[in-house]
Assembly symmetry: C2
Homo-oligomer: 650 residues x 2
């Protein structure tokens, strides 16, 4: 039961710290020495290198161009300027769609907040329930549902608002699902020719006494997909040569560092070993895994094979879309099926017991939450509690002030801290000072990794839950959430443009989960409102309130049927269209040569490359710390006209 003053103090502290973070960032980012911490994405794309800063030695580390200090908040509008299609090309569809989740927050909560402040706040405020009760309350509690007397007819207004908010949320969700599905389909349709469009991963090839795996695969697909099969690549367990390659890489690094010009022995030795191991792996049938990447002549053929069952036994000849080559986790392909099943059972058991034993602390809290339980455990609280008969409906909305403080700490200051990248900044400079020996090392030290979908998304979901739960109950929480969504949107858009490097592209395959979780939050909020109103003796509204989650579930099923297939299936018409276009444009395309090496184990690829053009020879003639315009493995577009970081510095 924090007072308005308490919230004011918390807000001041958090706004000040957020502002401090943002100012520190604005200052640090224009120092050349931090360039690789705040703009690694541009280095990785090969659009920026250290050679930009020529001149005095000191100006390599500190920015003496005082004009740039005047424009130091430029990054905010700059982060918003890059249009979405360019953002998709620059940062990948996954990142662009991830940013849309923050946008949805704004789209849902800004209209809801306006309506809530126009309708619910006056309705709550013009009562005298709290004034007449013996509870302690602050001014802002007068704006919450706590201030409406028991059994009041005014609850009908809250009910109508709950319906309105639900319909609005569902409308926004439906539109977004539609847009994201269209974006995904457009992205897939406009993708360049890629090996994974033609390729299917086949697992659990059954053992055959007469034929090797590669023969078996070829025969099977020649028989069952006679018009479409093109070629295949068996998967080998190359974990051993893989280790050697890692070892070689380390050696190579030391070689670079010591500049041992004519003694190539330390690097040559593992390379020889690797060649031997590779031949061993390639020849021995033991290291061949009963799995293969099978490529087809057309996308249509691959789509058919990936989406159908091949044989009677559904655990043999399992086919699925091949992931793109850089997304293959080669070590895991070697795990046999039996082991996989057992691992799944173990995880299942562990998950169950985690959930089950988690009930123990919850049960304890539950027993305390029971008012009588509190009385017994903490008898000194008795006078406060006994004021009872129906304060639950009053005290729950009062918890809002706790969450407001939480939002300010985690959502405001936390997001501002994200842009400062304090930990990567320190780690990079420490590494740079103590560990970095070669350009390779520096690249590794600078590597920002991918944006953390796995931690960011649950955080967003918490805010959706809070917003939806408190929209009807205590709407004064909404502005704080809106500020979070707006700030996070700008900050993460900046980070996607300038910092993070997407590892691989799922083409927004995660969207059905995002949608489903917001729906869950919506249903939780409806159930809580139902419980709350029943304690406020407004039980006559229950049937209408039950209808609400029911309609929401139906809406979810509708969306699942209408939009989810775009995320899990690949329609044959699309495949046929791309095939036909390609055949018309490039009638003489040699697809086989394009696909034959796409899914070779990276170890063999690297060995072949290093054998054909030995990189070690190049390193002899060049200085150690030469800035290279290293081409990223991703497509490299032209530099953006709207890229804020380029205009403010270059």
């Amino acid at each position: 039961m924090a007072t308005l003053g308490d919230i004011g103090v918390a807000a001041t502290i958090n706004i000040l710290s957020a502002f401090a973070f943002l100012s520190a960032f604005a200052f640090l980012r224009i120092q050349p020495i931090n360039d690789r911490v705040y703009f690694p994405k541009w280095y990785l794309k090969g659009l920026r290198s250290r050679s930009l800063h020529t001149g005095a030695f000191v100006s390599k580390f500190v920015n003496f161009d005082f004009r740039s200090y005047l424009r130091f908040l430029n990054w905010m509008p700059a982060a918003l300027q890059m249009p979405e299609p360019e953002l998709i090309e620059h940062g990948g569809l996954d990142s662009a769609v991830y940013l849309r989740i923050y946008l949805i927050g704004l789209k849902i909560f800004i209209p809801i907040a306006c309506l809530a402040f126009a309708v619910i706040v006056p309705v709550n405020w013009t009562n005298k329930t709290l004034e007449h009760s013996k509870l302690k309350y602050s001014n802002i509690d007068l704006l919450s549902i706590s201030n409406v007397p028991l059994g009041s007819n005014r609850f009908w207004i809250h009910l109508v608002m709950a319906y309105t908010f639900t319909f609005w949320t569902c409308y926004v969700l439906k539109r977004e699902y539609e847009i994201v599905a269209a974006m995904r389909l457009h992205f897939l349709a406009s993708e360049h020719r890629q090996p994974d469009q033609f390729t299917v991963l086949v697992r659990n090839v059954p053992p055959d006494p007469d034929e090797s795996v590669t023969q078996l695969v070829e025969h099977f697909f020649l028989v069952n997909h006679p018009d479409h099969y093109l070629t295949h690549q068996v998967v080998s367990n190359a974990n051993k040569p893989s280790e050697l390659v890692n070892k070689k890489k380390k050696m190579q690094n030391w070689l670079d560092f010591y500049q041992l010009k004519y003694s190539r022995n330390p690097s040559q030795k593992p390379s020889m070993k690797i060649s031997l191991e590779r031949d061993k792996v390639m020849c021995s049938s033991k290291s061949v895994i009963p799995a293969a990447f099978v490529s087809f002549k057309t996308r249509w053929g691959a789509a058919v094979c990936a989406q159908t069952q091949q044989t009677r036994n559904p655990t043999l000849w399992l086919t699925d879309w091949a992931p793109e080559p850089r997304d293959v986790y080669w070590d895991n392909l070697a795990i046999p099926f039996v082991s996989l099943t057992i691992r799944r059972l173990i995880i299942f058991v562990a998950y169950f017991f985690l959930t089950f034993f988690f009930m123990i602390p919850i049960a304890i809290v539950q027993s305390l939450a029971n008012i009588e339980g509190i009385e017994k455990a903490l008898p000194f609280l008795k006078p406060i509690i006994e004021v009872i008969p129906k304060t639950i409906g009053i005290s729950i909305p009062m918890k809002a002030t706790f969450f407001i403080t939480y939002i300010m700490v985690d959502g405001w200051a936390g997001v501002a801290g994200e842009i400062l990248r304090l930990k990567p900044l320190i780690v990079y400079h420490l590494k740079n000072f103590f560990l970095v020996k070669t350009e390779n090392d520096r690249e590794e030290a600078m590597d920002p990794g991918a944006i953390g979908f796995n931690t960011g998304e649950p955080q967003i979901q918490l805010y959706f839950l809070l917003g939806l739960v408190y929209a009807v109950v205590a709407p004064f929480l909404l502005p704080f959430i809106i500020v979070f969504f707006a700030l996070a949107f700008v900050v993460y858009r900046h980070q996607v443009i300038n910092v993070y490097n997407q590892e691989y592209e799922s083409a927004a395959a995660f969207w059905p989960d995002v949608h489903g979780r917001i729906i869950t939050a919506l249903i939780v909020s409806q159930l809580l409102l139902m419980g709350l109103l029943s304690t406020k003796e407004a039980a006559q509204s229950t049937p209408l309130l039950i209808t609400l989650p029911m309609l929401t579930i139906w809406f979810h099923r509708f969306c699942k049927g209408r939009y989810e297939p775009a995320f899990v299936r690949y329609p044959l018409q699309e495949a046929m269209m791309k095939d036909t276009l390609e055949r018309a444009r490039e009638p003489n395309l040699n697809l086989k040569s394009f696909l034959q090496i796409a899914y070779i184990h990276p170890v063999f690829k690297e060995v072949e490359e290093s054998e054909s053009d030995p990189a070690s020879e190049e390193s002899d003639q060049e200085p150690v710390l030469i800035p290279t315009k290293r081409q990223s493995r991703m497509n490299t577009p032209l530099p953006s006209k709207h890229s804020g970081s380029m205009t403010s510095l270059g």
Copy 2:
């Protein structure tokens, strides 16, 4: 708390009534007058007609062959003699697999009962809990878990038994799933060439301003399945001519009856009308529904099209396997998609409110089930209840005697009543006496319909639930259940062979549901045991008991992954194999002519047939009640060597 004597009385009554039903059946079935009630299946297959009984007029109604009275119980072994492959050919795979559910009951419960009587019964019996308590109890209650004292170490034996029973049940279920899946695949593989193997039902063809539905369908499949598309048949809304055809049929019947030899007007008129209506329907684009049956050159092509998504929009060009022609419900194909969606929403809402308001009576019962609630509602029960502290663990097993009585009434006498077919017997004779005018009418009066999966299956599931719940708690219930399963198996096997006529064949597609429901019963039984043991102060066994449903759920998921695909998907290898074989055997097969008329609306088919060979002309020359060897529309196999009904009568 029935005593042993009470159960004995109930058993006597029910065994006597079951025996009376069986005797009455044995007597009635060999009277020729009832032949069409007890052996309609053989009439429908064309293997039996009234001409079998020649001789005196009276012997057409009453059986004077006294030797047959001596063999009157022959039907029981006879029903068991027909081997399963022949049964499948005779009664369809659905019926044969349905009978296996009763067999599973025997396979699960006979070993469980043996083990329970060898282990659990002695363990329960050698206690003196009930003797020392103030509860009323009968001798058989001494055999139940009620007789084990609180917190006894003997509960470990019950725990071990619960594990054993679960493992045994899962083992039987897994084996059966395997067998049924193999039976289904074998059945599908050995099926003759049928139109539904090559055909896909396409719904939601989008409207096009320039092309008619039939043009659109042809173009779409020529483009997207160029190598496989063969032909198609659009679906028309023929509900209006359909009504006229029904009218015509009635007229035809009256015509037969009155033998109006030269005045064909009453039949001719609707026939004319029908032709007009048909032309109207076929020409008008309004009555064409945006749906079509599309046929492919190969099973492979159809399997691909049926199991993939065609276009971006997952609500357009919906493809699915075509049902076999006699399984198409033509009237429903005309329902537009929007209407279907709305109907689904209405059903969803209705289902929800049914479940929701069902909670009200349950809540009332629940409040009574609360012991204190009973005390308040029925104060005179106080002395009995106050005996309380922990009789729940004692009184629940005592409910077993109620269920024993239930099993004897519903399971024993009820199943014996099923074979007597008292209602069809009376209805048939009444109809035969008052309504039957023509041979057609007689066939309709005799029609036994299909076996009632929809009512029979839930009944079996109740017995599975009872058996599994009481296996550990009160095993003396098991023999009663075993008798039910054995009796029902024999009776329904007899009925499948001699009475019921399968309408269409789903190739045992219902099996995953059967499996899932037995698993549910198993989990319910485990949860109830957990609750029971916790009231018996054996809570230290809880972690081990929680593991049990968890393992069961895992087993279910395993079975789902391993066997369910056989029931929902059609593997490409199978399709390719059948295609290749067929091409080798019949290289000059004209598939198009075979498929072109397969999916024409039955109304048009009948009109065409009646126009080409007018049946009305035949009826002129023949007497009204001529016995026809009507060929069934199903495949007619040779009469069975093992068919009990044939040997006992013929």
